[in-house]
Amino acid sequence: MTAYDAIFWFFSLALLLCGVLVLISPNAVASGLYLVLSFFFLAGLYVLLQAFFLAMIQVLVYAGAIMVLFLFVIMLLDYRESRHWWHGNLLGLAGAPLAVAALAAALLPVLKRSGALAAAPEQWFEGTLENVMTPVFTRYLLPVEITALILLAATIGVVVLGRKEKQP
């Protein structure tokens, strides 16, 4: 076993462990924190695949932004009801194999062709910042600028819908 393999197994197993802990931990906040942790391990796997940009985005966007939002919502709702994860959740138990089967059906064709991907030229796999950002600042410059307008509209919306009612 090389060092590469060792690191891969460490990240994979830790990822799976975190996934299970997300499901079974009785506290919703703890579940959310385990999910953040699992994102970090997933980012580690991306680094092993030399997809550095994806790894960085994974940490920044998912762990940094989306999950923090999740945690805020959980804490805001003050959701304290704790119960065992399997309790009365028959529908979930029935749905899990279905979801796994659907995922397998989607992944199998890809895995079958993994040999062809291995023979593909090297530059396909370059997930560097340069490759991602060049289109953003050349070809897709205008769409990026328009997202600024979207953010402006969203900000106005939040202010309008969220401000306190004026006292008449």
Partner: protein, 478 residues
């Protein structure tokens, strides 16, 4: 300088930002600011008629095109926004809420729609579409004190997110099938032999669903009656006019770029079925409505069905008919919403009783409502009659080579007759029902007067003198 091509959009966004800042600094003069924004938007439209546009050029790495079609729709859409701003200034609940944010958001949505008219790349299209959708989330729930407005906003939010999801999913399939998201590149890929046609058609169908949300097309029509009823009347007016026009402009753009899956062009069974179902759904659903704004929601669905007739029939006649129908529909629907803005000012609901005896309380409003309803119903000599006539003509021309279109024409006529019933029922409420005792004369603000006169003139002129617009529409196509 490439940004020269964006002059109309930049002017619109600058207006929106100026309005926002002015509203924050001079909250006492908000009404003046709102009217100023409307006039500014009208000025931009007027100026654009005389400005030189760099034509038939692709900009920003081929993501943005500026041809006659795009410029025409930009002018129409910004003009619509200006009229909606005038309505917003006369709308009681919005005035009471204060602030210039509503006007700024309308202008931002207009900027998104104008960008949509120029889209030449699916990423650009998606981003511009989201600008419109996100702005409308806020516009629809703007009167957040009212449960109905919140319901409208929530329904629009959930279904809008769903339709955006459909669209992104479809884009992934299109990219997978063709290896590009640029319209020109996809067009080239479509004529190669290695394209998986089924995958591409599925992706395009998903994109059509995403656009269908904007156009109120079955099966993405379910929000229309609820949102039209709950949203502030000017926001609903903009949804019915601007948002629908932008959706159809994008669909036409996709067709002009020759992106329809090849199987659909030869055998447009799906488009025909969508047109027929949308038409009948709106016509039948509208029969049972008592609230006028809900009725307009169903009317909007029926009209989407009519417009899809022209899309399904295709050809120069079909596409020109769609453009003509869009413009005349804009005048009719804005006139109805202008009447509602004034009549239902206090309660913001509009059942038949609110309209009772309108011809005594305000002859101008009653006349505008009469013309608009007759135009929507397709009675000559108004624009709506010719619009329906041109669409049917396109369908019948296509039927000469494809007899299935005769059935579609039959469905269209049946739908038009059913819809006629409910339009006339509204008129009976306004002209025949006696006014309630407590009713007083309605004072029509000058802003609404301007909108009404523009709309009535538009309906009448288009009804008796359609050649200029038709010629211009055909001119746009080439």
């Amino acid at each position: 300088m490439e940004f020269y091509a964006l002059q109309m959009e930049i002017a619109t966004v600058v207006l929106a930002v100026i309005g926002l800042l002015a509203g924050a600094f001079w909250p006492k003069h908000v009404s003046l600011i709102r009217r100023g924004l409307a006039e500014g938007a009208l000025l931009v439209v007027l100026a654009s008629l005389f400005l030189a546009f760099p034509q038939h050029h692709a900009f920003f790495g081929d993501t943005f095109v500026l041809d006659r079609f795009a410029i025409f729709f930009k002018q129409i859409l910004l003009g619509t926004a200006a009229l909606v701003l005038l309505l917003a200034d006369a709308h009681g609940p919005l005035r009471r809420q204060g602030g210039a944010e509503f006007s700024a958001l309308v202008l931002l949505a207009a900027a998104g729609m104008m960008l949509l008219a120029s889209a030449n790349d699916f990423i650009f299209l998606f981003v511009a579409l989201e600008l419109v959708t996100i702005t409308f989330y806020v516009l629809n729930s703007f009167l957040r004190g009212e449960a109905r407005a919140l319901e409208a906003g929530l329904k629009y939010l959930v279904l809008g997110a769903l339709s955006a999801g459909f669209m992104a999913y479809g884009l992934a399939y299109i990219f997978g099938a063709t290896g590009s998201l640029n319209f020109d590149a996809i067009h080239h890929a479509l004529h190669g032999d290695k394209l998986p046609q089924g995958v591409y058609a599925f992706g395009f169908g998903m994109v059509l669903l995403g656009l269908g949300f904007k156009m109120a097309m079955v099966p993405m029509q379910i929000w229309a009656p609820d949102v039209y009823q709950g949203a502030p009347t000017p926001a609903a007016a903009f949804l019915a006019s601007g948002s629908k026009i932008a959706g159809f402009a994008v669909l036409l753009r996709l067709i002009f770029a020759d992106l329809l899956p090849t199987a659909w062009e030869a055998q447009p069974v799906l488009l025909m079925a969508l047109a027929a179902i949308t038409l009948l759904y709106g016509a039948v659903g509208g029969l049972a409505q008592t609230d006028l704004k809900r009725l307009l929601g169903y009317s909007s669905i029926t009209n989407a069905g009519f417009l899809l007739l022209g899309i399904a029939a295709g050809g120069d006649v079909g596409h020109a008919a769609v453009i003509y129908y869009l413009v005349q529909y804009l005048f009719a629907v804005l006139a109805v919403f202008a009447v509602l803005t004034v009549v239902a000012n206090a309660s913001d609901t509009a059942d038949r009783a609110t309209l009772a005896g309108l011809h005594r309380r305000s002859p101008l409003l009653a006349l505008a409502l009469l013309l608009a309803m007759l135009s929507l119903a397709g009675i000559p000599p108004l624009g709506g009659a010719l619009g329906k006539f041109f669409l049917l003509l396109a369908v019948l021309l296509r039927a000469r080579v494809d007899p299935a279109f005769y059935a579609l024409a039959g469905v269209a006529v049946a739908g038009a007759v059913i819809a006629l019933c409910y339009y006339l029922r509204v008129l009976r409420g306004a002209w025949a029902d006696p006014a309630p005792d407590a009713a007083t004369r309605i004072v029509v603000p000058w802003t609404v007067r301007v909108v009404l006169f523009i709309c009535m003139a538009g309906m009448l002129v288009l009804g008796v003198w359609p050649q200029p617009l038709l010629n211009w529409a055909l001119h746009c196509l080439h």
